[in-house]
Structure formats: structure tokens, C-alpha cells
């Protein structure tokens, strides 16, 4: 339905996105995963016709939309990363305006506004001024404004940044519902791995302006089928221990976590005993050890050598 061909963008000679090829089938939910500065927002800005690519094409149902962006704009709903609303107006006034610019009028507009308010769970607060809303509520209205014209494709650029867990959960539920029940095609960008894991059928992993890997969640995890993850919880950080483990030949990746260390090691390697010995040598107190199968986060770490939130 929607695809990009060798999409590239340079800003003053600096490459922001290079040779991005991705495609979305109708009704699919696709994740675009990458750390800050990976080029996700630039990519979706080009797809949504906000900025022109330096080279490459965006195709909608096989037709190029770069030269005639009107085609894609009518079927696209874009949820920007920032809260792009008129905060001095009420939520209802905002939605009415955004509905009008998509050509909705009269009863159809009123009906859609009502439905969207119900969807985001803010029917009772629709007449309130947006600036009186909490961050989570603003995010929900931010999404609502992109849904009014019932778009075929919904592009969401990190829609849950900086909100409380309750609102976040509500938004994720809502997106899942739109995808599963209404068959809306979703392109969801995030640097929250768990969101992408929860929402998306397929994932593109992006770093330094390039797609470095793609596939279904299982396909991506299978990249690490020969590895396993060891989570070590410590009573406090031990920098020397971390450095020592980083030098260890038998450990593929080492990273610090909030509670201790995370190690990716070859599957079946009998390293636990040695790990305890090394920890003992550094007089580190091990609180907990957990061996798990790799997550998408581990895949990302494996592919890029850095954490998603770096």
C-alpha cells in the first residue's frame, strides 16, 4: 500500500536519512525503531510529504506521491511528536478546526468529533481549554486530531513521550484497537522497545539514518537465536567489574542497566560460575541473576552496539 524507495535526505550536506526502503501492507502495524537522532522523524516527515526527499520516492498504491502530495495527504493521519494543538482553544474547537481542514462539515464533522472523543476517553472534558489538560490528555487530543478524517494510514511519531503510565497504556490500547478493529494501517515510531513489541507486527530498526534490520518480531529475535541474555543485579554500580567483563572474550555484549549489568553471551556457554568468581574478585555483591531469551532491545544492542535510549 505504502512504500519508500531509496529515500534519502541531506541537510546542508549532512546525511540525515540514506537509502531507506520500507513498505506497509494494508491493515498492518509496523514499527520504526531507533534511538534519538536515528532519522525516524525525518523519514516519516518525507513519507507524510512534510519535507521533500533529496532523492528516492514515496509510493502510495504504486503511484509516486512526491510530485503530487495531495493524494497521500487525504489518506494520511499524522500524529506529530510534539503536542501540536492550539492550547488557548478548547479540545472541541481544536478538533472542529482540524476536521474542517480535511473537508469535514456539518453533521459528519460532529459525528466524527464525538466518536474520536469517545475513543480517546475525553468526552467529558471536550469543552475545556487545552492548556488546562494534563500532559497525557494533551497527547490523547494530539492523536484525536489525526483521526478525525478516518485516515487509511496512521503515522505516529513517538506519541507517548513524556506521559504518565496510565495515559501511555490508554494510547497503546487505542492504537491497537484502531489497527485490529478498524483495520487502520499504522506506522509507529518509538524508542520504547516494549511499545513496539506490544503494538507492531513487523519492525524496521533504524540507526544513523539507515535501516539496519527489519522483519517480524520473531524474525528479528532469531538473529540472536544462538545467544542468551544474562541479567545480573548488583547492590551498587561496580565500574571495574563492568570494564573487566567488557574485555572478556566469552561475552558478546556488556551493558550497564539500572540495577546492574546485562550480558549477551553464546547460548549454552557455561559462564555463570566464572561470572561469580569475577564478581567476587571485585568484591561485588550479586543480588540476583536471571538468564533469559533475547528481546528486541537485545537485538538492537547486538546490531548497533548501543542502547535504544543512548
Amino acid at each position: 500500500m505504502l512504500e519508500t524507495e531509496e529515500l534519502s535526505k541531506q541537510f546542508k550536506g549532512k546525511i540525515a536519512v540514506e537509502g531507506v526502503n520500507l513498505h506497509l501492507e494494508r491493515g498492518e502495524s509496523v514499527g520504526l525503531l531507533g534511538p534519538n537522532g536515528a532519522g525516524k522523524s525525518t523519514t516519516i516527515s518525507m513519507i507524510s510529504s512534510l519535507i521533500k526527499p533529496t532523492s528516492g520516492d514515496v509510493l502510495l498504491d504504486g503511484k509516486n506521491v512526491i510530485k503530487d502530495p495531495g493524494k497521500i495527504r487525504r489518506v494520511l493521519g499524522v500524529v506529530p511528536q510534539e503536542i501540536a494543538l492550539y492550547e488557548e482553544l478548547t479540545a472541541y474547537e481544536n478538533l472542529k478546526f482540524f476536521g474542517r481542514i480535511y473537508g469535514l462539515r456539518g453533521k459528519a464533522l460532529e459525528k466524527n468529533i464525538e466518536e474520536v472523543f469517545e475513543l480517546v476517553g475525553l468526552t467529558d472534558r471536550q469543552k475545556d481549554i487545552v492548556k488546562t489538560y494534563s500532559g497525557g490528555m494533551k497527547r490523547r487530543i494530539n492523536i484525536a486530531a489525526a483521526l478525525l478524517h478516518e485516515p487509511e494510514v496512521l503515522i505516529m511519531d513517538e506519541p507517548t513521550v513524556g506521559i504518565d503510565p496510565q495515559s501511555r497504556s490508554h494510547i497503546l490500547e487505542m492504537v491497537r484497537e484502531l489497527n485490529l478493529k478498524k483495520g487502520m494501517t499504522v506506522l509507529y515510531t518509538s524508542h520504547y522497545m516494549e511499545e513496539v513489541e506490544r503494538l507492531c507486527d513487523r519492525v524496521y530498526i533504524m540507526d544513523h539514518g539507515r535501516i539496519i534490520s527489519s522483519g517480524t518480531k520473531d524474525e528479528l529475535k532469531s538473529i540472536l537465536s544462538s545467544e542468551e541474555t544474562i541479567m545480573i543485579d548488583l547492590d551498587r554500580p561496580y565500574p571495574d567489574l563492568y570494564n573487566d567483563l567488557k574485555q572478556h572474550d566469552g561475552i558478546l555484549q556488556t551493558m550497564e542497566t539500572e540495577t546492574g549489568l546485562k550480558l549477551i553471551v553464546p547460548k549454552g556457554s557455561r559462564l555463570l560460575g566464572e561470572l561469580f568468581q569475577i564478581a567476587d574478585r571485585h568484591q561485588a555483591k550479586v543480588v540476583n541473576v536471571h538468564v533469559q531469551t533475547p528481546t528486541l532491545e537485545d537485538v538492537f544492542l547486538h546490531l548497533t552496539g548501543r542502547k535504544l535510549r543512548d
Binding site: 516527515s45 507524510s48 487525504r74 510534539e82 481549554i129
Partner: protein, 368 residues
């Protein structure tokens, strides 16, 4: 386009303070600088000779005060003399039954003007009184008034009031035009910050990825800023014309056209500024500098004719406010029509077209 335009009004309705404050400031400054009364009037302290009755004095004062240039105030002789002696007044008028005297300290221009006027009034009145007494059966004053309604011959005499260079100047109108055009710059340009603000907040991007065309988004904003400036200037002109009897000229169509061309030029300069600066904060800092400089150089605060520096005079020609003032003064002072003011109108329009073109181009370049 209409949606964008209406949205701006909706936002204005929610937060009208900024626009209304500039509206209020204009009225405040014009009122106190130009005054609600005719400040060009020369006040003449007037006292009576002992044998002049109060009714006779009232009659003379009524006749004398028909002038728009002079205001004759009855006062005690002692006060009038004291005012002249202390330098508070340059002259005082003593009314006698069929004559007058002027108490004067210096033979200046005011004395010449007052003496000429009072002499003319006394001569006319005494002649009329003499004719009335000789023609008792005829209402000579009514007959003369009727004859003057349809004169056989009309002699028109235009006086160039002002300094030695002979430029036209009316302090009240200059203040009204200058202050109104000056403060309207703030209103229009600060309203334009909505565009920069939308870009900062991301709503602009939301509009761009909608089916609206880019020119519709721009036009919606520009039309709002133009109209708010146009309405502010027009309302203030009408307010002072009808409430405080300022005479802005009879050619209302020309006035409307001047306001429209000026508002277009200023909105365009605003777009140029948005194109030049990078942030909303920079824009908010630049607007007062540009507005004040434009008003000072362009002759909104004082007539350009009193400026002797050649560079400043040349610079003034690069300010749209200069042409707005020229055109307004042309209509108000000389009763000029659209044809006569077509040059400043055309310059303002061209100014607008160029500034708008460059401004939008700069904005689009930055966006891409």
C-alpha cells in the same frame, strides 16, 4: 483558507489583550499628545474697561470666539496684567464699548495675528451696527447672511501654515496619523508572530500535511493580520473624527485605500522579518526595534520636513510609514483624491509585494 482565517479570529477572541492594548495605547497617545480640544488655538486673556457692561462683553466674546484659531477668555484686569507681566501670556485684550486695546510685551507673530483678527471683527461689527441703525426697517444681518449663501463672486485664499519652508503641518492630525500608523505596526506584526509560533509548536506542520495548500495557509494568516491592522487604523480614525472632531479629510475612499495599502505593506514587512529571524523570541525582540525606527525615520513622530540630515531624509523614503503619512496628509490637508496620492499608494503596494516575496521565499528555504 477560510478555516485558517476564522481560526485566527477564534484565537483572538480567546486572547484579545495584546491587540486591544495596542488599540488602547493608540487612543491614549493621540488623546494626550494631540489633545481632545483644539490645541492649535491661541488663548487670549480678555478683560473689560470699566464702563463696558457684562452683556456687551458677552456679545463681543461670542463674536470673537467664532474663530477656530483663537479662544478669548474673560478674566479680571489684574489677572490679565499679571499674566502678561510674568510672561505667562504674551498679550491680553481689553474690550471697550466700540474699541479695544491690546496689552503686549513683544511685537511677535501672535500679536500680529490677534490684532488682525480682532480688528477685522470690530470693523465688521461696527459697520453692521452702523448700517442697522441707518436702515431700521431692514434686517440687514439676515440679508447679508442670505447674500453670503450665494455669493456673486467667491475668492478662495489658501494659507500655507507652517515654518519658513512652507510645508503643511497640523500637529493634531500629524499625531493622529503618526501614532495610529505606528501602533498598528505592533498589532499587525505581533499578530504575525502566530505564524512563527505555529512553526515552533508544530501546528504549522500539521496544516502542511493536511489537504490544504500552502498558499491557503499563508493567505489565511495574512488576511487576518491585514484585517486586524486595517480595522484598528480605520476605527481610530473614525473615533477621533467623530468623537473629537479631527478633520481627516472628506475623501473617505482615498483614506480606505491608503489604510489598505499601508496594512498590506506592513504585513509584508512582518513576513520579511519572520523570514529573516530564526526564533519567535528573536522576532518579538526585533518588532519593537523595527517599528520604532520605522516610525522615527519615516516621519510618524515628527514631520520629515524638519529633518536636515540628508541621509535620514533618504532613509525616510525607504519606510512604508513615510508614504502612508504623505498620502494621509495629502487627503487631510489638501483634499487630494486617489489620483493625486497614487504615487505613495503604488510605492506602498510595491513595497508589500517585494517584502512578501522575499519573506515567504526565505521561510520556505528554511523549511526545506
Amino acid at each position: 483558507m477560510i478555516s485558517i482565517f476564522l481560526l485566527q479570529w477564534q484565537r483572538f477572541r480567546r486572547e484579545p489583550l495584546l491587540v486591544l492594548s495596542f488599540f488602547g495605547l493608540t487612543i491614549f497617545f493621540v488623546f494626550f499628545l494631540a489633545g481632545s480640544a483644539n490645541t492649535n488655538q491661541i488663548t487670549v486673556q480678555t478683560y473689560l474697561e470699566d464702563d463696558v457692561s457684562q452683556s456687551s462683553a458677552d456679545e463681543w466674546l461670542t463674536v470673537l470666539n467664532q474663530s477656530e484659531t483663537f479662544r478669548f477668555e474673560l478674566t479680571e484686569e489684574e489677572d490679565a496684567r499679571s499674566a502678561v507681566m510674568n510672561g505667562e501670556a504674551s498679550l491680553a485684550l481689553q474690550l471697550r464699548n466700540d474699541n479695544y486695546r491690546i496689552l503686549v510685551t513683544v511685537d511677535d507673530q501672535n500679536y500680529q495675528l490677534v490684532n488682525g483678527y480682532v480688528q477685522q471683527v470690530f470693523q465688521e461689527e461696527l459697520r453692521l451696527a452702523e448700517v442697522e441703525s441707518s436702515l431700521e426697517s431692514v434686517e440687514i444681518r439676515d440679508t447679508i447672511a442670505q447674500e453670503l449663501e450665494e455669493p456673486v463672486l467667491t475668492v478662495t485664499s489658501d494659507t500655507i501654515a507652517g515654518d519658513d519652508n512652507g510645508f503643511l503641518y497640523d500637529a493634531r492630525l500629524h499625531t493622529l496619523f503618526g501614532m495610529t500608523l505606528f501602533f498598528s505596526v505592533y498589532t499587525m506584526m505581533f499578530s504575525l508572530t502566530n505564524v512563527a509560533e505555529e512553526k515552533r509548536l508544530g501546528t504549522w506542520d500539521r496544516l502542511i500535511v493536511s489537504p490544504l495548500r500552502k498558499w491557503e495557509v499563508y493567505l489565511g494568516h495574512l488576511l487576518y493580520c491585514f484585517l486586524i491592522g486595517f480595522l484598528q487604523i480605520l476605527t481610530i480614525f473614525l473615533f477621533f473624527e467623530y468623537v473629537f472632531q479631527f478633520n481627516i479629510g472628506a475623501n473617505f475612499g482615498a483614506i480606505l485605500l491608503i489604510i489598505a495599502c499601508y496594512a498590506f505593506a506592513i504585513v509584508s514587512v512582518g513576513m520579511l522579518l519572520i523570514g529573516l529571524v530564526r526564533t519567535t523570541q528573536q522576532l518579538q525582540a526585533v518588532i519593537p526595534i523595527v517599528a520604532t525606527a520605522m516610525a522615527m525615520i519615516g516621519g510618524a513622530f515628527w514631520p520629515v520636513e524638519i529633518v536636515s540630515n540628508e541621509i535620514m531624509i533618504i532613509l525616510s523614503k525607504a519606510m512604508p510609514i513615510f508614504y502612508g503619512m504623505e498620502a494621509l496628509k495629502g487627503v487631510a490637508y489638501l483634499d487630494q483624491g486617489i489620483l493625486e496620492i497614487s504615487e505613495p499608494l503604488a510605492i506602498m503596494f510595491l513595497f508589500g509585494v517585494f517584502s512578501m516575496g522575499i519573506g515567504i521565499n526565505l521561510m520556505e528555504r528554511r523549511a526545506s
